[in-house]
Symmetry: C2
Subunit: 401 residues, 2 copies
């Protein structure tokens, strides 16, 4: 059987599956797995992955094994699982963890709703761990959920940025080339294990720069910055109406567009029963700027927060919500408005529990067009900062532009 080209041009970059695939109670979207099943019809029917994750990460210089080190409060291994899960033709993912980390791993799988994962006990060496994973796949146990695969991908738990294209290359090469003496001599040692215990073919394949391994503490820093950058590519400005072009929300949208290069800025109304907004949430936008105009205080922001809390968007990444309030400082001193707005601190504490980072932003509304533009520009800089940093220590603060 020959493997075909990638069925989808969408890279398997970190980002959760659609909630249709992830959440049990949501059925609005088609299951990507069945769609992909048609597109990827020529892919091998039986691919599994084994992740040795029994290491202790002594080079990291931190007490936590590196696969469990948190990035944006989520363990590194969860990002790797997410990257593999997005590849629908990988049927089973077997993770080898030490006995003492078994419960931690189970709670990670539950908390981040990972699917198609089986756990086996890690061995004393990396080879033994891979062996245990392969054995679990090879055995035809009656109660096993696992099916014997044709190809097994062995993937480091600490390479979170693996893309579907590379995985496909691996699988294709394994099927086309078999394994040469060269691989056995110079390839990574686990090829030999794969050959010996799983009756599959294997071949050393070139990776991409993204496939790099988190080894040192500096790699954790880099991974965090890359992840932050990836989830900061889109901002949705939410307002009560889309009709009025002179709406301050639209003015802010325009300034955001001109100030923030490389960021997609869209706007959406809360009004229409939130149909479009729901789609934006489903499409995994992680940044919202909610403009409160017609209602006093936080009514619009609260509507948005409810929608976000009902969705599964916040499971994998912290979602930033900036609650924007316009005020003519000449008519009303900001202090007066702030009195009311201070309740944002309580909201922020509440929604932090659901992985939502809420900040307040008071923009000076001036009749003078130039002054208004300056305030909007300042507001855009603050919004960009909040989205870029995702700083938990500053939630509930009321910033002034």
């Amino acid at each position: 059987m020959e493997a075909g080209p990638p069925g989808s041009s969408r890279p398997a970059e970190p980002g959760p599956c659609l909630s249709g695939q992830r959440g049990a109670d949501h059925t609005a979207s088609a299951s990507p797995q069945s769609v992909a099943g048609t597109e990827l019809g020529r892919h091998p029917q039986a691919v599994a992955a084994v992740l040795p994750a029994g290491g202790c990460g002594e080079r990291m210089g931190v007490p936590t094994p590196k696969q469990f080190c948190p990035i944006l409060e989520r363990p590194l291994i969860s990002y790797t699982l997410q990257a593999l899960e997005r590849v629908c033709w990988i049927k089973d993912i077997v993770v080898a963890v030490t006995g003492e980390n078994m419960e931690v791993m189970k709670s990670i799988i539950q908390k981040y709703q990972h699917k198609r994962i089986s756990l086996v006990k890690a061995g004393v060496t990396r080879h033994r761990s891979i062996f245990n994973g392969l054995k679990a796949l090879a055995e035809d146990q009656i109660n096993s959920k696992l099916s014997k695969p044709e190809v097994v991908i062995i993937h480091d738990a600490v390479r979170p940025f693996v893309e579907e294209g590379v995985l496909l290359k691996v699988v294709t090469a394994a099927k086309e080339h078999g394994c040469s003496d060269y691989d056995l001599e110079f390839g990574t040692e686990c090829l030999q294990l794969a050959l010996k215990y799983c009756c599959t073919k294997a071949k050393l394949v070139e990776g991409s720069p993204d496939l790099w391994k988190v080894t040192y503490k500096r790699d954790l820093y880099a991974a965090e910055s890359i992840i932050k950058e990836r989830i900061s590519q889109e901002i949705c400005v939410v307002m009560d109406t889309e009709e009025d072009n002179k709406h301050v929300g639209h003015l802010l949208e325009e300034v955001l567009k001109s100030e923030l290069n490389h960021v997609k800025v869209t706007s959406e109304a809360l009004g229409h029963a939130g149909r479009h907004l729901l789609q934006i949430i489903l499409d995994q936008c992680y940044n919202f700027v909610c403009v409160n105009v017609t209602t006093s205080d936080f009514q619009e922001t609260q509507k948005l927060l409810s929608m976000l809390e009902e969705s599964n968007l916040c499971i994998l990444y912290p979602v930033v919500v900036v609650s924007v309030h316009f005020l003519d400082f000449k008519l009303v001193p900001p202090s007066q408005k702030m009195e009311n707005l201070m309740q944002i601190r309580e909201f922020a504490k509440e929604v932090k529990e659901r992985n939502i980072l809420l900040y307040g932003l008071l923009i000076c509304y001036s009749q003078d067009d130039q002054k208004l533009q300056e305030s909007l520009r300042q507001g855009a800089i603050i919004i960009a900062s909040l989205i870029k940093e995702r700083n938990c220590g500053l939630i509930g603060q009321l910033l002034i532009a």
Copy 2:
């Protein structure tokens, strides 16, 4: 001649030279170069460094050559120069840059007050650039400031974290071992050039993990995080008096100590003509929490800002100043106090020009001890966030704990 052990246990990590060495008008501290001259008496008398910096950085995926990419608004190459400059026994540093970047490089040397630097034109290849650097050192030109060195260190402009120990190993090995066939075969190619054109000995020496090269964009991210971490190791709490143990400044200091692990928290009074505080500034503390109690508004913060502006501390790294104000929210609503404190926005804009990041922090002062502790703890979290991120977009904001 045999090279001795490192003369100083202090690593040559990024951090500016003392201002005695750096600023022309400051003579209070002894010149580190003359002190080190005694300690490092057994070091080779004539060591120079050549930095090929003519690359275009195509793997970085950004238009700016990587050696000029900014980290905390300062170009990467300046960090590398700083690391070499701190090693007092390196007498000359020759940088090879392309003609089109010559002016940029000159302005970097001027802005960050680098010393002992000479510029030569880069060649079309890395080898040619090294050749040009070595030639400048080898020539006995009448007008040349350069002296012919015994040993030349060839160092990538994009390895900013080189430590004195590694450089010493390189020099020692070069003098002790000469160059073997093994080096010529497997070592980096520039060994051959060094041998051929500089009449010196050379040897491949093992580096440290810190010596890594900034190649990809992710390396820039990692470098930025490492630098931020390094300059966030110490916080100085500045207040009007040191006598009163019940002073809110001391309470805040205690909470900072208990909340922030791995950070050294000290306190200092502004009062005593600022003598001690001046020493803390000279010792390169980059983070200040200024408690305003006896005076209204910003008098104490302004005194501190003046001291910082007069020092050379801010030349190499952005310095964080958090202006703290205590207020009993029950007696005075925060809004009333805020009216006055809003002028911090103007101060912040001004001092940003001098590389000082100023933020305001209003801490709720309560007679209830438990409530006060909670506010102080919240304040400590905010201070930690501000210091960790060094976010330019949020300067001049008044945060509430």
